[in-house]
């Protein structure tokens, strides 16, 4: 797609247009929606990790004036909350409310009442008789014969599937010839890695407000990454035509994947509102939100073959994933994880991936910034560091020799979505970073002494930009837009794409302004609901700018075509002799004759004239599918300090390279990279979700006070957080842009862990590196060396 014009907004730091509303508290988020006559919802959540519901008595709650909802009130339609994949690649195992509890904190019944307090009281008045069943929490246990079974059968597409030993999905993928590849290698390495569950901790808890309308339709405001996914699922479970469901797009308080699926509360809220015949608001308490969805944990074994000159000849990964009590799509999760693994290095084309995903009586797992990428990246990038250390390679050179770059194949979303890499900032990142950090002269860990030891580490990663490919695969990917020129030269832009805070909406406005050459402040982002605008699959997979932006580009180009045709009629010129340029003096877009700018009309005059001539509005709407999913690359150079007395890890300095193609707004891209570093630091050293296996309850009981994330205090000094955006241009992206969002996290964890190795010479295979874990490892090494010392 074409280059940007001179003076373009693209690539400039423009303060975000929603900033004013956000700093003044005026911005309305779903949990802020207040509707006259609104009731408040509350949920009865399971006090057991696994139990049958024998009987329910809601009499007392109803006497209090509450509207009650149990599994008896809902259609037992089986669905998967996530609808990004095609139905044939989607397992279905849940209903709006269940007759059996499969994890602690699972919503079982719901009420709506005139006040929030009354709703909570009514929940406590519901009498439930349970038959408590044995529960299973670890995937290895769950797969054993005789383990408690969560399901007998589930559905894949329209087919019934029996579940054996709680195994939800097996996905084995191989290409090339791994055995031959390993045979060619001089050294074989095999290591295991483990990453536990963490929680999104998005600032706004999951919520919905549903309002029945006088015409029998419903209006829905919800924390949602896709308005259309919410509409389609509601239509299915409520048995309503989609034309009667308007899901309104709103900003919401952070996502990180937590709303990639339709949130559990949303269909419950809709059922409550329809039963009550009144608007209902259902907001999760933070303690409840912890039990809503969590990040997928993973256990990997990685085997790699390497020649003495540093060529990786084959790689084999086995993955074991516990995804909890419901499938929010471990099938594509395993496929994607295989793809991230396969696309990091070339491995001479010899790869094998054996993935197993297992039901347990834990909270369901869903996407969380990277969809398996941070997990497998930690394993692979730790392996590269191990191999470099063991064989004496420079970690930079080993990566440069083996990475997949321009011209190589990239699996953007598992094995069915592949495209060819056309832009790549890997070499720039590694070469510049090596010089800036003096990486080749870092000291070996065994030369370091003292109570506080400093280390420098490196890791690289990427993510896809969207899930488009030359051929359709198992993932749906297209977006829509509507662009309309108003009679004063301003422009209305409607997009179904949600913005999670990264600035996607401003990027889309910039693309529209650039195509039509109108001042940015004249492009208005119109309110949009599912009744007003075509489909967009979801803001996920780092696709907002690359895919959503491409739809805006495509539609704006069609509008420009119409504009020039209308202008040609008015100016007695052929459309192909006309061009649009932005006039900051007139504060208008201007259509002028090429090479004769004196003959011109403002876009406002053209639109007004077209109206006066009754020629119609200059507008267009369409959908558009990207046919690539280019990788956006990141590289992290991290310095750590490890306190040998306390086990505390701090980060005094970080250098981050981001390759997002041509950045729409460099400040906002950098903000995503810095924010992701903070979250990655939390993932690496703080965050964990241990379960009390006696009760099935989280050890922190869902309380934020016992779920520590890094604060401002844990970040390096401002001057020592450096972000460099690579000098790349993606030919298939709107004005050269790719994504950045999920890539920004991928390599943080391994970079920190590799730096810790360089500081203290201890390799960690399991996250998080809490002070307790670090101290234990230091003590173990001391004990070993004491034992090894001859007396």
């Amino acid at each position: 797609m074409t280059q940007v014009s001179e003076g373009s907004y693209i690539g400039q730091n423009v303060p975000r247009s929603d900033g004013h509303a956000k700093v003044t508290g005026a911005m309305v988020y779903p949990s802020d929606v207040i509707v006259p006559g609104m009731m408040y919802g509350a949920l009865l959540r399971s006090p057991y990790p696994h139990a049958e519901i024998l009987s329910v008595d809601t009499t007392e709650a109803e006497k209090m004036g509450a509207v009650c909802l149990t599994y008896k009130d809902i259609e037992p339609i089986k669905y998967n909350e996530r609808s990004v994949s095609i139905p044939a690649a989607t397992y279905r195992d849940r209903t709006v409310l269940p007759d059996k509890a499969r994890h602690f904190g699972e919503p079982l019944m719901a009420v709506a009442a005139d006040t929030q307090e009354l709703a909570y009281r009514a929940v406590r008045a519901i009498k439930v008789e349970y038959k408590v069943l044995p529960a299973v929490f670890e995937p290895e246990e769950a797969m054993k014969d005789g383990a408690p079974q969560l399901y007998d059968k589930i559905y894949l597409g329209d087919e019934e599937v029996a579940v054996h030993n709680n195994i939800g999905v097996i996905r084995n993928i191989s290409e090339g010839d791994c055995e031959a590849g390993f045979a060619k290698a001089d050294r074989i390495f095999q290591e295991s890695f483990e990453l536990g569950r963490i929680y999104h901790n998005q600032m706004e808890t999951k919520c919905a407000v549903v309002k029945p309308e006088p015409d029998g339709s419903i209006t829905v405001w919800a924390t949602a990454q896709s308005i259309h996914a919410n509409r389609q699922l509601l239509g299915r479970v409520l048995g309503m035509p989609l034309s009667r469901i308007n899901v309104i797009k709103l900003p919401f308080g952070g996502a990180f994947g937590s709303s990639i699926q339709v949130n559990t509360v949303t269909p419950i809220c809709a059922y409550l509102a329809l039963k009550a015949g009144r608007p209902v608001k259902l907001v999760s308490a933070r303690e409840e939100d912890f039990y809503s969805h969590q990040k997928y944990p993973a256990k990997f074994t990685v085997k790699m073959g390497v020649t003495n000159d540093g060529l990786i000849t084959a790689a084999h990964v086995t993955a074991l994933v516990d995804f909890g009590a419901h499938q929010v799509q471990p099938l594509p999760f395993l496929g994607c994880t295989a793809g991230w693994f396969a696309s990091l290095y070339k491995y001479e084309g010899n790869i094998r991936f054996d993935g197993t995903a297992v039901y347990t009586n834990k909270t369901p797992c869903c996407a969380m910034q990277g969809y398996g990428n941070p997990q497998i990246n930690f394993a692979i990038e730790s392996m590269i560091d191990i191999i470099s250390n063991e064989m004496g390679f420079s970690p930079v050179d080993l990566r440069l020799k083996n990475y997949r770059g321009v011209g190589d194949e990239f699996w953007g979303q598992g094995p069915t979505i592949r495209s060819i890499i056309k832009s790549c900032g890997v070499e720039q990142s590694l070469v510049e970073g090596r010089q800036m950090t003096d990486f080749d002269h870092r000291e070996r860990p065994d030369t370091k002494t003292g109570d506080v030891r400093r280390g420098l580490g490196l890791a690289r990663g990427f993510h896809c930009s969207g899930t488009g490919g030359p051929k359709e695969g198992e993932v749906i990917d297209y977006s829509s837009a509507l662009v309309k020129i108003n009679e004063d030269g301003s422009v209305d832009l409607l997009t179904p794409v949600t913005d999670h805070g990264g600035g996607t909406w401003d990027a889309l406005r910039k693309i529209c302004a650039e195509v039509l050459q109108v001042p940015l402040d004249l492009v208005g982002l119109s309110p949009a609901g599912t009744m007003q605008i075509g489909y967009d699959v979801c803001t996920h997979a780092t696709r907002g700018v690359y895919c959503g932006g491409a739809a805006v580009y495509h539609v704006a180009m069609k509008v420009k075509e119409k504009l020039l045709e209308v202008a040609g009629r008015l100016m007695a010129e052929h459309a192909y002799n006309l061009e649009v340029v932005r006039s900051d003096g007139l504060h208008q877009g201007v259509v002028q004759v090429k090479d004769f700018p004196a003959k011109s009309m403002t876009i406002g005059d053209i639109a007004k004239q077209a109206q006066n001539m009754s020629w119609g509005t200059i507008a267009y709407t369409d959908s558009y599918r990207q046919r690539n999913c280019p990788p956006c690359f990141t590289t992290h150079f991290v310095e750590v300090e490890v306190d040998m007395r306390t086990g505390v890890i701090t980060v005094p300095k970080v250098l981050i390279f981001g390759d997002c193609g041509n950045p729409m707004n460099p400040d906002l891209v950098k903000g995503q990279l810095v924010g992701s570093f903070n979250r990655g630091f939390g993932y690496t050293v703080f965050e964990q979700l241990p379960t009390n296996e006696a009760t099935g309850e989280l050890a922190n009981k869902g309380l934020l006070v016992d779920y520590k994330t890094p604060s401002a205090m844990e970040m390096p000094p401002i001057k020592d957080v450096e972000v460099i955006l690579c000098d790349t241009y993606e030919p298939t992206g709107p004005f050269g842009a790719k994504g950045i969002g999920e890539a920004a996290l991928a390599s943080v964890q391994a970079a920190i862990s590799n730096a810790v190795y360089n500081a203290i010479g201890i390799r960690f295979h399991k996250l998080p590196l809490t002070p307790e874990a670090v101290l234990a490892a230091i003590r173990e090494r001391e004990a070993q060396s004491a034992g090894a010392t001859p007396s």
Partner: protein
């Protein structure tokens, strides 16, 4: 549950309200005065999204029973800008990319306002320490700390002229 009549001044307006003894200030502000800039994030004063000013002091409204706020002068995020003109703190947040999803922003702006009233000349370490009670999952805090320091610089400059 007993009822109480309380008097509050919120963003310069005097309000008289009947509240239940277990009603929280955050719910009074959000559900009864429709000041939804004050956000719910955790309900246990761990995240700071519900921060408001009580005089010049920042308090987390999720832990304050409304009856305890009787007689308070409260400023919420909605009451900081005067006549549509942003305060230096708000302006710096917008200009320096200190906002992403924006859900923590009102509380962050209110806390930063209290910070600068308490110490008009903070250094980076002071700002980081002061903001440790305000949780942001998006930004990684760097741009926020920069915005507070930037606002302090502007305010000092304005005071000097």
């Amino acid at each position: 549950m007993s009822k109480h009549t309380i008097n509050l001044t919120v963003n310069g307006k005097r309000r008289t309200l009947d509240v239940q003894s277990n009603e929280l200030l955050i719910d009074v502000l959000r559900d009864r005065l429709y000041l939804t800039g004050t956000k719910y994030g955790c309900g246990i004063a761990e995240c700071g999204a519900c921060t408001v000013l009580h005089g010049d002091r920042s308090v987390m409204s999720c832990l304050v029973p409304a009856v305890a706020a009787d007689g308070w002068e409260i400023t919420t995020s909605e009451g900081l800008a005067k006549d549509g003109e942003l305060t230096p703190v708000q302006e710096s947040f917008v200009n320096l990319g200190a906002i992403q999803c924006g859900f923590c922003t009102p509380g962050m702006v209110v806390t930063s306002t209290a910070l600068l009233r308490e110490n008009p000349d903070p250094d980076e370490a002071y700002v980081k320490d002061y903001l440790r009670g305000n949780f942001c999952r998006c930004t990684g805090y760097v741009a926020i700390v920069q915005a507070v320091l930037d606002a302090a610089g502007k305010m000092k400059g304005a005071a000097a002229t």
